[in-house]
């Protein structure tokens, strides 16, 4: 099939499900999906507890988590790199330049988003529900799953925002993954590399998929938000 330039070639790669392209997309989704699951498992309960509990220093902890939402990916990558490098405290695990290292770096990027936004969602719900739940015999700790479940549609949006941030970032995974072909090459690192090499077709194909992914995520977030507003759940 004759191509009509890089864009046509890119579409051809997608249409033919080019093995190299598929491998990169699958790895990217696996890394970001796993990071999201870990961040959700830690961040949802942690954010909920921060939303409910009252203790000395809570305000400072909230400020720190909020500030970490703006953590530059390259800084997150650098910190994880230092932790996992041969001379680092976790160097013995041999994780540097593996997908696991990329998952750790992306988790570090998503976690502050999940914790901070979950804290806000749960705190708002707790203000509304606290007296009623206490009246029914619920302790503050027992209220955590109740509030997370009731805020589920808003929290889906939070998780999608985290997924979006992780799937679009390049700095952290480049530093700790090394962009090794067939091993740690993700969509964003591949786009950077292929563009610098002048191989625009693969870069464009990955860019189209990344844009499509972003569009789907935003559509899902919008849907969750609409469902939340209409109280259907």
């Amino acid at each position: 099939m004759e191509s009509s330039g890089p864009f046509g070639l890119a579409l051809q790669l997608i249409w033919q499900a080019d093995p190299a392209l598929v491998e990169i997309v699958v790895l990217s989704l696996r890394v970001t999906g796993t990071a999201l699951l870990i961040a959700a498992a830690i961040g949802l309960p942690l954010g909920a507890v921060l939303g409910i509990a009252r203790f000395w220093g809570r305000g400072a902890i909230i400020v720190v988590w909020s500030a970490l939402m703006g953590l530059p990916p390259v800084v997150a990558g650098l910190v994880v790199y230092l932790l996992l490098s041969r001379s680092g405290p976790l160097g013995g695990l041999g994780l540097l330049f593996t997908p696991t290292a990329m998952i750790i770096a992306q988790t570090a990027l998503i976690l502050p988003i999940v914790v901070s936004l979950t804290r806000q969602v749960v705190e708002d719900l707790w203000q509304r529900y606290a007296d009623q739940l206490r009246s029914l015999g619920s302790s503050s700790w027992r209220a955590v799953p109740t509030l997370l479940w009731d805020g589920r549609l808003t929290l889906v949006t939070v998780l999608l925002a985290g997924f979006g941030r992780a799937s679009a970032e390049v700095g952290a995974v480049l530093i700790v993954g090394g962009n090794i072909a067939g091993h740690t090459r993700t969509m964003t690192t591949a786009i950077a590399l292929e563009t610098s090499r002048g191989a625009l077709a693969l870069a464009l194909a990955l860019g189209i998929i990344l844009l499509a992914l972003t569009l789907v995520l935003n559509a899902l977030a919008h849907l969750a938000s609409r469902l939340d507003r209409s109280h259907i759940g």
Binding site: D131, S135, L136, R142, H231, I232, G233
Partner: protein
């Protein structure tokens, strides 16, 4: 109903509540014996809701004591419930709201489903069981909140102006359900500033004004021979504040 020692009488012993040095409740003493329906009556800001919250344990008094005749919880199950003026329902089905309350009270998986269904039927809510609770009408929401409270089988039910935001039809429905609960030996203690409702629902009246208990008497006496000038003025429809 429980076979545990009865929790009544409830003694509110010189209850006070202050916020930042401002006294909102002044040494209120009241004993609630079993079997009657008590209406706490008074204008807005009298301290009626505050008194209910203190009795129910949602707030701790800054002075005085709340003394139940026996432990007011059996395991996880609270033995008294509070219905708020504006119902706070969870974002799930009507049935799931009742099931959640029963789970908090420590009932097992099958038991809470069985009880939820029978309670919803008793309150005429079976047809709404699978509807999202938060999209029900105001009257239906309050009825569901009452069903949820009743499902925990409280021995004392506190109600904080439960029909203040409802139309006459919904008010009549709630009052009928309260009559049923009273017939089932649930002790009713409710606040209102509606004299008509107080006449319909009260066996005894506790009249409050500006954070003080002005008088506590049988309802018939209160309406025919009010002792205090404040109560007399309130019954005559004069503005109190």
């Amino acid at each position: 109903m429980t076979t545990a020692a009865p929790i009544l009488p409830l003694v509110l012993d010189r209850l006070s509540f202050a916020v930042r040095g401002k006294n909102l409740l002044h040494e209120v003493s009241l004993t609630l014996e079993p079997g009657r329906r008590t209406v706490i009556l008074g204008p807005n800001g009298a301290g009626k809701s505050l008194l209910l919250r203190l009795a129910h344990g949602l707030l701790q008094p800054t002075g005085g004591r709340v003394v139940w005749a026996a432990a007011d919880r059996l395991g996880h199950r609270p033995r008294h419930a509070l219905l708020f003026q504006r119902p706070v329902l969870l974002r799930r089905s009507a049935r799931a709201n009742v099931i959640h309350a029963l789970a908090l009270a420590g009932h097992g998986y099958r038991e809470r489903r069985k009880r939820a269904d029978s309670t919803l039927a008793k309150f005429g809510l079976t047809g709404l069981a699978e509807r999202q609770a938060t999209v029900l009408s105001g009257g239906e929401q309050q009825l569901l909140a009452l069903a949820r409270a009743a499902a925990q089988e409280p021995e004392v039910l506190f109600l904080d102006e439960p029909t203040a935001a409802l139309d006459p039809a919904a008010t009549a429905e709630i009052e009928a359900m309260l009559d049923n609960l009273h017939a089932d030996r649930v002790r009713i203690v409710m606040t209102t500033h509606d004299l008509g409702q107080a006449r319909r629902m009260a066996d005894e009246i506790a009249f409050m004004h500006r954070g003080r208990l002005i008088e506590a008497t049988p309802a018939a006496d209160f309406f025919s021979r009010p002792v205090s000038p404040e109560a007399r003025a309130f019954i005559e429809g004069k503005l109190l504040w």
